[in-house]
């Protein structure tokens, strides 16, 4: 009896048909393709995208410069006389092209001036666009930092 069942399964390609059933199941289910760039994703709060530096709150301690494995950050403190009152850096160079997005510069910053943002679209035609100095360093106060309210809402655009 069992042998008969096995024989029947062999000639009717039973388990192969079950495999066909699995693919058919996914044929009718909704597709998971994300229609980028028509629909841009909403990324979580902790996403390590492009670095944002608030040079106004930076105190030129250079901890981020020492922490970076690639040497992407170069901080130039102001001259000694200025430093007594105003600790903001004279120049702040950031090489976003070589950034590993490891987050090691964010950990030691005492004022939280340097942090990763959710910007991930860093493709440029000219790499010099990714070299930032104090003038070009973006920290747009108008730009929203996405609030974290759970993963379900993070993909709210779906």
């Amino acid at each position: 009896m069992k042998a008969l069942a096995r024989f029947a399964k062999m000639v009717t390609f039973w388990e192969l048909a079950k495999g066909l059933g699995v693919t058919t199941k996914y044929l009718v289910k909704p597709k998971v393709t994300e229609l980028y760039p028509d629909k841009r994703p909403v990324l979580p709060y902790r996403t390590k995208g492009r670095l944002h530096v608030d040079v106004e709150t930076c105190i030129s301690c250079r901890m981020c410069e020492k922490a970076c494995p690639e040497g992407c950050i170069k901080v130039f403190p102001p001259p000694k006389e200025v430093f007594k009152t105003d600790k903001r850096p004279a120049e702040f160079l950031l090489n976003q092209e070589h950034c590993l997005h490891c987050g090691l510069c964010v950990d030691p910053c005492p004022t939280g001036s340097i942090h990763h943002s959710q910007e991930f679209e860093l493709v440029v035609f000219d790499y010099r666009e990714l070299l930032f100095d104090k003038e070009r360093l973006p920290y747009d106060l108008d730009q929203p930092r996405y609030r974290w309210n759970g993963l379900e809402n993070a993909r709210a655009e779906k």
């Binding site: 495999g19 996914y26 902790r46 390590k48 494995p69 590993l100 090691l104 993963l151």
Partner: protein, 381 residues
């Protein structure tokens, strides 16, 4: 299957009549099925493989040397790039080694969080293995299903660690942050749905007669040979040898969790496939136990700002997705490592290629490469 072919081997008398020769075929570095830039020089006698020589080094990036020019903390991100599909596990190995040499005690809560992230990474790595192995053998849809599952895990990683693929997960001493609000329910939802997806993969492959014919009896390595070749991970356990670092040399509270270590019997491609599928299910069990029993406490042990380990050496090994991953670090008291050596499982498992492929057909070589589960980042470092 291999016995009833006309004996056209190099030593048969027919050879003089037919003037057949061995052909050296280059399964070159550019090949869709060699999982990266791996080159195999295969000596063929017709379709049968007589010898196989691996040529590696196309992806050598000098990672171990690079680490010597960075401080102990700065060196952490590079080890993600070794096995880039199982980055969190690599990170765990390195920070575990540094913690060992420093004598830092990682708090229990951090250990449990590390276990959750490690096992998620293991599932992700095995999923991609399943996809690429299925693709090599011909089942194209499994890749897309596996990658779709991986997306869910990568979303979890992005919310927790900040990056999907190379997150630089752990600082030396613990973990950086706790789970975000709302992360644990999403993770549990994933864990509830995932076993059904594994059932789908098994329906597609495990009993499929084509799959069984392609993978049973192919790439056999016996238990003694496997141990002699220093294989590890599912490649070793497929031959029936019960060695899993999580059970044999427990680290990071793995002894608190109840899980099985799947073993194979014959040491062929089919058994290794089954081992990994079952490991994925066991990982789900472990994560559920870890989430259920998550203790309260600190997230990071006592580690100074600047890390200067005492002079000495330490070796720390974890069960990576590919096998036993070990870090051997030597410190001379400075803030930069003197030497970091990585015992890469893929590199050592690759030594078994000749044993597994000899006597098979050339189509089997691709199946075997897939079943060893190599990542060239690890092989070449």
């Amino acid at each position: 299957m291999a016995a009833d072919r006309t004996d056209l081997s190099v030593t048969s008398p027919l050879r003089e009549v037919l003037e057949s020769r061995e052909v050296e075929l280059n399964l070159g570095p550019q090949h869709p099925a060699t999982h990266g830039v791996y080159r195999a020089i295969v000596r063929l006698d017709g379709e049968k493989v007589v010898g196989i020589k691996s040529v590696i080094g196309y992806l050598h990036r000098g990672i171990e040397k690079w680490a010597e020019y960075r401080t102990w903390t700065q060196a952490t991100p590079i080890f993600d790039r070794l096995d880039y599909l199982g980055a969190v596990l690599n990170c765990h190995g390195y920070v575990g080694a540094v913690e060992k040499i420093l004598g830092v005690e990682v708090p229990k809560k951090a250990q449990y969080i590390r276990v959750v992230l490690d096992e998620l990474q293991r599932i992700a790595s095995h999923l991609l293995w399943l996809g690429t192995h299925g693709l090599d053998v011909g089942a194209q849809s499994v890749l897309f299903y596996a990658v779709r599952e991986r997306e869910a895990i990568m979303d979890l990683f992005e919310a927790m660690l900040g990056q999907r693929l190379l997150p630089n997960a752990y600082p030396i001493g613990g973990v950086r942050f706790d789970f975000p609000r709302g992360w644990v329910p999403v993770c549990r939802k994933f864990l509830a749905e995932f076993p059904k997806k594994v059932d789908d993969y098994e329906t597609l492959l495990t009993t499929n007669r084509i799959w069984v014919q392609r993978t049973k009896g192919v790439g056999v390595v016996s238990a003694e040979e496997a141990v002699a070749l220093s294989l590890s991970g599912p490649t070793l356990r497929g031959s029936g040898v019960n060695f899993d670092v999580r059970k044999a040399i427990p680290y990071s509270s793995y002894e608190d969790f109840d899980f099985e270590v799947p073993l194979g019997q014959n040491g062929d491609v089919y058994d290794r496939y089954l081992c990994r599928i079952r490991e994925m299910r066991q990982s789900v069990r472990i994560i559920q136990q870890a989430l259920d029993g998550m203790p309260e406490g600190e997230l990071k042990g006592k580690v100074g700002r600047i890390i200067r380990p005492p002079m000495g050496e330490a070796y720390f090994t974890v069960e990576a997705a590919k096998g036993q991953l070990g870090y051997y670090i030597v410190s001379d008291g400075a803030e930069k490592p003197w030497r970091v050596h990585v015992r890469a499982p893929s590199f050592i498992n690759l030594q078994g290629m000749e044993t597994m492929c000899k006597g098979g057909l050339i189509a089997d070589v691709v199946a075997v490469i897939g079943s060893i589960d190599i990542v060239l980042g690890e092989v070449d470092r």
